[in-house]
């Protein structure tokens, strides 16, 4: 029983985090992005002001450096669902969470040790 409780509790916690995420997450650039903007002059490394125009230019500049122009239209870009705002993001993260749960379970069953 305890075994099942932990798993059910885990799924509930994961879904609660997923739904809350869009409302509580910081929209500051993340560590990698912030380092990128700092290095490309769109932001001071220790500062918090982001120059949006310079940030856009930095993104063009880096594509020129690497030559990697690959782009891919994800169905829910940036965890958004077209036509829905924050609730759409909450739904998107919740869908992602359930999908990861299902895929991990399926692949886990397929690849686990059986005696």
């Amino acid at each position: 029983m305890q075994r099942d409780n932990l798993l059910i509790f885990g799924v509930i916690i994961a879904l609660a985090i997923a739904v809350a995420a869009p409302f509580i997450a910081s929209s500051n650039p993340d560590g990698l992005e912030s380092a990128f903007f700092g290095i490309f002059g769109a932001k001071d490394i220790h500062g918090s002001e982001l120059n949006e125009e310079a940030a856009g230019a930095a993104e063009e500049q880096v594509t020129e450096i690497t030559g990697n122009t690959f782009s891919f239209a994800a169905p829910f870009p940036d965890y958004s669902i077209e036509g829905l705002s924050k609730m759409g993001e909450a739904l998107a993260v919740a869908i992602g969470t359930l999908l990861v749960l299902a895929v991990a379970f399926g692949l886990g069953r397929a690849f686990s040790r059986t005696e």
Partner: protein, 215 residues
């Protein structure tokens, strides 16, 4: 709404291909680990951990310097499931769903993200936990420090990849990635220790797995 892993534009295609090849080798090893070591009854736990890691990665926490950071979860997966390959298994799934469904993290560069978070995060997290736990004799401070360190090393490896790509200069890349992720790592450490406490309290039988005894 951001999580943000390495986007396609940050790494030239030939290098991205090399990272994919390395990642695929580790994915194959992770699948071999699963076949040999992952008992069927562990599968629900693996799935719940993967789902929880996906959800918690969506929560970007603000840190100083106008920056944010999110949990990685590799150390947690490796410690709870008793193998660094468990982290490769879980993080690869999370990264595929993030990249393919949500455009978070590039497709061509997904190999690099799998190496950084799954392989580096998982191996550094697992082995530093094993080492620290011998010193601290307490899983929670060990997990805190190991998770902090795993995130920092993963970020520094990412900075080296950015330097090879020509995207970041090496010194400044290591400095800024190190600075931000030394702080983000505190969040990683705290959540890892707290999650481990909850899991071990509910399922004391998992403690032996985390100590490297094959379950």
């Amino acid at each position: 709404m951001i999580v943000v892993h390495i986007p396609d534009a940050f790494i030239p295609l030939p290098q991205a291909a090399v990272y994919w090849i390395i990642a695929l080798i580790f994915i194959a090893l992770a699948l071999r680990w699963a076949r040999a070591e992952m008992r069927e009854e562990k599968v629900p736990l693996v799935a719940v951990l993967a789902a929880g890691i996906f959800a918690i990665q969506a929560v970007n926490v603000p840190i100083p310097w106008g920056t944010s950071g999110h949990m990685m979860g590799a150390a947690l997966a490796a410690v709870v499931l008793g193998s660094p390959f468990a982290a490769v298994f879980v993080l690869t799934l999370v990264l595929i769903v993030q990249g393919v469904l949500f455009g978070d993290g590039g497709i061509t560069v997904m190999g690099a993200n799998i190496i950084n978070m799954g392989v580096v995060g998982g191996f550094v997290g697992y082995y530093s936990y094993q080492g620290l736990n011998r010193v601290f004799k307490n899983p929670y401070p060990s997990a805190f420090v190991a998770a902090w360190f795993s995130l920092l090393v993963a970020a520094l490896v990412c900075a080296v990849e950015m330097a090879i790509a020509g995207t970041f200069p090496l010194g400044l890349g290591l400095f800024s990635m190190g600075l931000y992720h030394a702080v983000i790592g505190v969040i990683e450490g705290a959540i890892t220790a707290a999650a481990l406490y909850l899991i071990f309290t509910a399922r004391p039988d998992l403690i032996s797995t985390s100590e490297g005894v094959t379950a």
